[in-house]
């Protein structure tokens, strides 16, 4: 009986999902306070099995995705001897942050079809639909956006940064940069075997401005006039106080 079951399991291995993944995050909320200087999220977990491990290369892929916004990409061109913004392309939605961490080289970790299905690599996340009509070399604009954001540390692919212990336990540290935007950050953990996704785990991190940052930001949107007047008041008081202070010191 057991032998027969094992036989079927081995045969259909991934399809039956004899392996699963359990994972957790070190924190599911990040508060952006005045002294916020980036944050590190620890993602850890284990592979659970109800049968001996099937054959094949096992890997873990972790993605962290920030809130999506529309993006305008502009290209400078030389006009009348100076560089000015010329052509532009509208990208409907691009994540403000996207990190991929893997246990091995991505090409070996994930098959092309599974990548398409789960939309794991960045070009598939951005899905630049309908941009070819906007500019002649529209794909260059998307590539440029990815390049710029990689330089800012917003987009990154870190292969072999997920550590595997005894083919069961895994952990990864994901650095969130200091120029973080607010919103819900989606975390996905994929378990793959022979490039096929066996199981996935989804979780969210809530990134919020907190304390003074929250108060100032809300006020600037909800009470812009009051906010402007308060900014002025600070300027007036500071300007007056400095001159009064120095007059005192001169005496």
């Amino acid at each position: 009986m057991i032998r027969a079951l094992l036989f079927w399991l081995l045969l259909f291995g991934p399809a039956f999902a004899s392996e699963g993944i359990v994972a957790g995050l070190s924190q599911n909320r990040v508060s952006i306070t005045a002294d916020f200087n980036g944050s590190e999220i620890l993602i850890y977990g284990a592979v659970k099995r109800d049968a001996p491990a099937p054959k094949g290369q096992m890997h873990v892929i972790i993605t962290v995705e920030g809130p999506k916004t529309p993006i305008i990409v502009r290209k400078k061109a030389r006009r009348f001897g100076i560089y000015v913004n010329d052509e532009s392309v509208q990208i409907k939605s691009a994540p403000s942050f996207y990190a991929v961490a893997t246990t091995g080289r991505l090409a070996e970790t994930l098959s092309e079809t599974e990548n398409l299905r789960h939309r794991i690599t960045l070009p598939l996340v951005i899905r630049p639909v309908g941009i070819s009509a906007q500019a002649e070399d529209a794909p260059d604009f998307v590539a440029a956006m990815i390049r710029v954001r990689e330089k800012e540390g917003r987009y990154r692919l870190v292969e072999r940064s997920v550590q595997f212990t005894e083919a069961t336990l895994f952990r990864a540290d994901i650095d969130l940069p200091a120029n973080l935007s607010e919103g819900l950050y989606g975390v996905r953990v994929f378990l793959t075997r022979n490039g096929q996704v066996v199981d996935r785990f989804d979780q969210q991190i809530n990134v919020r401005k907190a304390g003074l940052e929250r108060v100032l930001f809300n006020m600037s949107r909800e009470q812009p006039l009051l906010y402007g007047l308060l900014s002025l008041l600070i300027a007036v008081v500071a300007g007056w106080a400095a001159s009064a202070l120095f007059r005192q010191m001169k005496r």
Partner: protein
């Protein structure tokens, strides 16, 4: 110590901002200008988005101008009626400027427009000031050279709507000061500057005001124009970053007072040459950015195309 700016949404070193505020404040105290023309490009340079740099720069100019004008009021060196006339023009100019700024932001050409304004105005004023002060320095070293009259009659004095400005000892039409005020208000809104570097020469050479009331009167009206600009930017675009402003102001007001003390020990012509060289330096740097091929041709902005 890193500090997160809530509106700009990035993390910057707090001491760097205090330092920028302090250095610019020192120079503004030294030369009697607001210093906005230095602080806004410096903010661009450390990665603050242009719209936020311009709006917050205007807020910072309010503080440094108040600090400066208080000293001038004590010396009775402020022509209040003239200040109010300039202000009326300034508010109108600022209103148009904020509107133009919002339109250009939508069209994606705001950086270009701001940069071109900087090159044009800083370059022009810098050259004029340099030329004039080198000449003045030469003249003062040669004793007995003819002194130019500061107050000459020209077409400006033929315009209607004349008004008496007692502190300046002038009886002129209100139209030129209105126009000068409007131009400066417009520039304040799009460049994040107080416009002292245009206002001061315009008052001396165009309106024929005596030099002793020029700085105080210019600072007086700059306070109101930049205050108005700050409010307008805060309301129309939510681009004033209070955290950024507080750090710049803190450094700025202290620097301004120190600068004012040092300025007493230098000669006026030498000061003007130094100021003109600094103004020219900023203009050349911005011009180079426009003329040379940038390392990255593409820029990205969150948002939708209009």
């Amino acid at each position: 110590m890193q500090i997160y700016l809530p509106i700009a949404e990035l993390s910057v070193n707090a001491f760097l901002l205090l330092g920028i505020g302090g250095v610019v404040g020192f120079l503004s105290g030294l030369f009697g200008v607001g210093g906005g023309f230095l602080i806004t490009p410096l903010l661009f340079f450390i990665g603050i988005p242009p719209a936020i740099a311009v709006a917050t720069g205007a807020n910072q100019v309010v503080a440094s101008s108040i600090s400066g004008v208080l000293a001038q009021v004590k010396r009775k060196a402020v022509d209040f009626p003239m200040g109010f006339v300039l202000l009326a023009g300034g508010l109108a100019g600022s209103f148009i400027g904020v509107w133009v700024f919002a339109r250009l932001t939508a069209a994606g050409q705001v950086d270009l427009f701001v940069q071109l304004s900087y090159v044009l105005f800083l370059g022009g004023i810098g050259l004029m000031m340099f030329w004039e002060s080198v000449g003045a320095l030469r003249r003062s070293s040669k004793a007995g050279a003819p002194i130019r009259r500061s107050h000459t009659h020209n077409w400006v004095h033929g315009l209607p709507f004349k008004m008496k400005f007692r502190a300046s000892g002038l009886y002129i039409s209100v139209l030129p000061p209105l126009a000068v005020g409007a131009l400066v208000g417009f520039l304040a809104a799009i460049m994040g500057v107080g416009g002292g570097f245009i206002m001061v020469p315009a008052m001396i050479y165009l309106l024929g005001m005596p030099t002793k009331v020029v700085i105080g009167t210019s600072l007086f009206q700059i306070i109101f124009v930049t205050a108005f600009t700050t409010i307008m930017h805060a309301v129309t675009a939510n681009t004033v970053d209070m955290m950024l402003a507080v750090l710049l102001i803190l450094g700025g007001v202290i620097g301004a007072q120190l600068g004012a003390q040092v300025s007493g020990r230098l000669r006026a012509e030498q000061l003007r040459i130094l100021l003109s060289l600094m103004v020219l330096g900023v203009a050349v740097k911005i011009a180079a950015d426009l003329l040379l091929r940038p390392a990255e041709l593409y820029t990205i902005t969150p948002g939708l195309l209009p």
